[in-house]
Assembly symmetry: C2
Homo-oligomer: 202 residues x 2
C-alpha cells in the first residue's frame, strides 16, 4: 500500500501539483469576483470550489493568510526588475512600479477589494507587511544608501527622511487621492522636483 | 399646549441643551472605551447609555455618521491656528499639527480604534473626507499658492505636486510607519530638506 501511494504521488509529479495549486488560487479569485468578502472566505469553501480536499490546501499553505498573500501576488503587477545603471535610475523604476500598482488597484475592483479586506484583518495585514512591504522598504532604503555613496544624493540627511521625501509623494498620490491623475511622467516629475527642491532659483 | 411647549424649550435654553449633547458624546466615548466596535454601536444603545431617548439624538444629528464625526472632533487634537506670518511658517504649523495627530493616534487606543473603525465603513469614511480631510487639503493648497505668490516657493511646478512633496513625507511617517519616531524637529527637517532638495551641493 505504501509503495503504491508513493508511486501514485510520484506519477503525479510537479506539473500535476502546480495544476492543483493553480486551481486553488483560481478558486479564491472566482469567489472574490463573485463578491464573497475576504473575511468570509473559509478554507472549506475554497476547497469545495477548487474541487479538492481541505487537507490539500493545508499541505501547501499554513493557513488562509499565506494563501491570500499568494493570491495577491498573482493579481498584483509583478515586482520590477531594477536596471542597476544608477541609484536614481533604480529609484525611478521603484516609483514607476508604485504608479502601476496604483493604476491596477483603481482599475481592478478585485484587487482593490482584496487590499481593503486585508487591511481590516490585523493578522493578514501584518503578514502582508512582513512579507511584501518590509522587503520593498528595505530594498528602497538600500538604493538610497547606494545613491549617497555614489554622490547622486546628499550625504547630510538621514536615509529614512530621504526615503520619505522620495516615496511619500507617490504614496500620497496613489493611496490618499483616489481620483488624482497617475500620468506616465509622474515618477520623473517627483524625482526631479525632490532633487532640485522647492526653493526658487536665485 | 404650543405656548407651553415653547416656554419649556425656552426655559431649558442653551446650557441644558449643551449638557445633553455632551452626555451623548460622552456615552459614545464610554462605549468605545468599553471595547464596543464602532460598527456595532447603535443609536439605541447610545441613547440608553446617555439616558436620553433616540429622538433626542436624531434631533441633533442626522444619523450615526454625523454623531461619530463630532465624537472624533472631540477626541482629536484641535485644528491649529495659523500664525499667518509667512506661507512657510503656516506650512510648518500644518505639518506640526499632522505630527501631533500622529502622536495622539499612537497613544490613544480609543482614537486609533475610531479611525480604523471609520475606514471600514465607506459612508462614514466618505463623510470624514468631505468634512475634515478635504477642507484641510484645500487650506494647505491655498498656503502653497500663497508661498508661490510671495516668492517662498518655486513657480514652475504644479501646486498638487508641491503639496505632495511637502505633506507626503509626514503622511508616510505618521500613517505608514507606525513605529517610526515623531520627534519635535520633524516638521522643520522635512520643510528644510524639501526646500533644499536632495541633490548634493556643488
Amino acid at each position: 500500500m505504501r509503495e503504491q501511494g508513493h508511486e501514485k504521488e510520484h506519477r503525479r509529479g510537479r506539473p500535476r501539483s502546480e495544476a492543483v495549486e493553480r486551481a486553488i488560487l483560481e478558486a479564491v479569485v472566482t469567489l472574490l469576483e463573485d463578491g464573497v468578502p475576504l473575511g468570509e472566505l473559509s478554507v472549506e469553501r475554497i476547497a469545495r470550489t477548487a474541487g479538492v480536499g481541505k487537507a490539500t490546501i493545508y499541505r501547501r499553505w499554513q493557513g488562509k493568510e499565506e494563501l491570500f498573500l499568494d493570491v495577491l501576488r498573482e493579481i498584483e503587477p509583478p515586482e520590477p526588475e531594477l536596471p542597476g545603471t544608477s541609484a536614481l535610475d533604480d529609484l525611478r523604476v521603484v516609483l514607476e512600479s508604485m504608479r502601476r500598482r496604483g493604476l491596477a488597484q483603481r482599475s481592478s475592483v478585485l484587487l482593490h477589494n482584496v487590499v481593503v479586506g486585508m487591511k481590516s484583518q490585523p493578522k493578514l495585514w501584518a503578514e502582508y507587511h512582513r512579507t511584501v512591504i518590509d522587503p520593498r522598504r528595505a530594498m528602497t532604503t538600500d538604493l538610497i544608501r547606494r545613491g549617497v555613496a555614489s554622490g547622486e544624493l546628499r550625504d547630510d540627511l538621514s536615509v529614512e527622511l530621504m526615503h520619505e521625501l522620495l516615496v511619500g509623494p507617490m504614496l500620497m498620490r496613489t493611496l490618499h487621492r483616489p481620483g488624482a491623475p497617475l500620468d506616465e511622467d509622474l515618477p520623473d516629475r517627483i524625482i526631479s522636483a525632490v532633487l532640485q527642491g522647492l526653493r526658487p532659483r536665485e
